[in-house]
Symmetry: C2
Subunit: 330 residues, 2 copies
């Protein structure tokens, strides 16, 4: 890294945590990455002030670690839950943060005196994995982000695809069951209603109501309202039959979502990131087998289906990439 | 039209009929469009010979109607059922035509001594509607072709999107019912298994098995194996309760497929072409209402959902456009 490199700060805004860090434009390293609780309950001004402080801390780290001048920091990429209006830099609505028509991009830009670019959090995570992670080298990439919800991002011919009004990639809200479970989005039978973290916990609670013996209650001190997807996977790893059935069903639901994207979009990489994807072979072996049963062979043969490689940095890395897509460095 | 224009021949190969015609590169008119039965049972050589004759007839019409010279015909665009390999110009498999690894493009090219381009039939129909039909002006367009099967095409950022191995756009083979009906493709619960012409007829037969009185049997001389989607729509138009319920369910299934594409791709136009789409308001009014209930509001607000405007010419027009995409006219 020479002192003349350009650096970009990436900001990943989650409902729970903020992740901020910087990278040189060639993506060769991460600098000053750190995380703080979002604490949205304190209000938007407080969150902006926290982000401003984290960006300044990151810029100080860039200067200290590389010898760069502040002017070598070209700007800030921001990944935020949506829906949002990228052109205006406005978050239209984020239930988790309580923001409505909030000019997030310009507030951050003004706070630190740098140009900024706003994109959807799942788009950023997908872009990060495609730039430097598990989907590197992919020209057409579908990213699933598995967590409290199921988000997604589409990279088409090497660039993020946003659609007509920045909604593209909401692959967690495609119906896989015509008369299925009610989803938080208002629709019925969405993939998210079956395979998000809370949906996995709910299906496990329903299976337990059947009354068979299970390890699961002992993992949550008998309080099933505390049950999480991670505990279900833990119980399955310990041989619990009910948990194993729920885990198997989760792979099947996710496989339907993945197979649909193979037939619709025919990507060369599908990357699954986030909590559930950390289950490794327990998820990916049955998932790939079910995808092979469901999707067209030329689509299956053309596609790698892989877990994300960047962990909790994916959104930050992708926010840097989103800034660089909008402001290419000569 | 001046005598110096460039002309392109479009060939649309269907399981039942061949449609061939020509257009000037500006798309201002259709010349010499005619249709003949495909008669695939006579074998591939016979189909190629028939197509060759139709192309020559079309070129003769161009010369006669416009005064152009034969050299002004730049080439041939071909739309064929798939899957296919565009780069090699090969049809990998078409059950309806009985072709396997058939070098369709080069056979036609050699037969008429003109360069040729091969693309999927549903891609061509979508491209035709986007160039000159109901989706004109659309930058991101999803096309559904409703018939014996349900095909699809994606136009993203103004160009046909093919994916990694020319499978992209198989939107009739996305699962809408996780444990649903077996589909001809081997998967379960595909949209095609609910809303193709034969699937509509099958659902009507199942509803009739319930035993209620219905007009439907009288429309097929009591032989329900002769039932078609068109007869079901006819019975519904005459007030038949069972047919009306099947028609309503069809709109709902199609709406799920359309709503999924709105959340995944956020297009500015969805165009539905082919037989079922001719039902007009009977289909489109409930379909649009159900899409509005299911898809994200910014995606619904950004999108027109319209019937195709080019009728049986759509594939031929789109085949011309596919040739022009590959061989732009100066």
């Amino acid at each position: 890294m020479t002192a003349s490199s350009t650096y970009v700060v990436g900001v990943d805004i989650g409902g729970t945590n903020l992740v901020v860090g910087a990278m040189p434009a060639d993506g060769s390293r991460e600098i000053g990455v750190h995380s703080l609780p979002t604490q949205a309950v304190l209000g938007a001004d407080s969150v902006i002030e926290r982000i401003r402080g984290m960006i300044e801390t990151t810029i100080a780290a860039v200067i200290q670690e590389t010898g760069a001048r502040r002017e070598q920091v070209a700007g800030v990429g921001i990944g935020s839950p949506g829906p949002l209006d990228r052109e205006r830099g406005v978050v239209i609505l984020t239930p988790n943060l309580g923001w409505t028509n909030f000019p997030l991009r310009d507030r951050i830009s003004a706070a630190v005196g740098l140009p900024a670019v706003l994109d959807n959090d799942a788009n950023c995570a997908t872009l990060g994995e495609a730039w430097l992670g598990a989907a590197k080298g992919g020209r057409n990439v579908v990213g699933f982000t598995l967590g409290t919800g199921i988000g997604g991002g589409l990279i088409l011919d090497g660039r993020l695809f946003h659609g007509a009004s920045d909604v593209a990639g909401e692959i967690g809200h495609a119906t896989i069951e015509a008369n299925g479970r009610k989803c938080g989005c208002g629709n019925y039978g969405c993939l998210e209603a079956y395979a998000s973290g809370p949906a996995i916990a709910m299906r496990a609670r329903e299976a337990l109501a059947g009354g068979e013996g299970s390890l699961i209650p002992s993992l949550v001190d008998g309080d099933l309202t505390k049950l999480t997807a991670a505990k279900v996977y833990l119980a399955s790893a310990q041989g619990d039959a009910i948990a194993t059935e729920v885990v198997k069903e989760t792979a099947r639901f996710l496989a339907i979502g993945v197979a649909n994207m193979l037939n619709i979009f025919n990507p060369d990489v599908v990357v699954l990131a986030g909590g559930v994807a950390q289950a490794g072979d327990t998820l990916f072996v049955p998932l790939r087998a079910e995808v092979r049963r469901r999707a067209f062979k030329p689509a299956v043969d053309a596609c790698r289906i892989v877990p994300g490689a960047l962990g909790s940095s994916a959104g930050m890395v992708g926010a840097v990439a989103a800034f660089l897509e909008a402001h290419p460095v000569a």
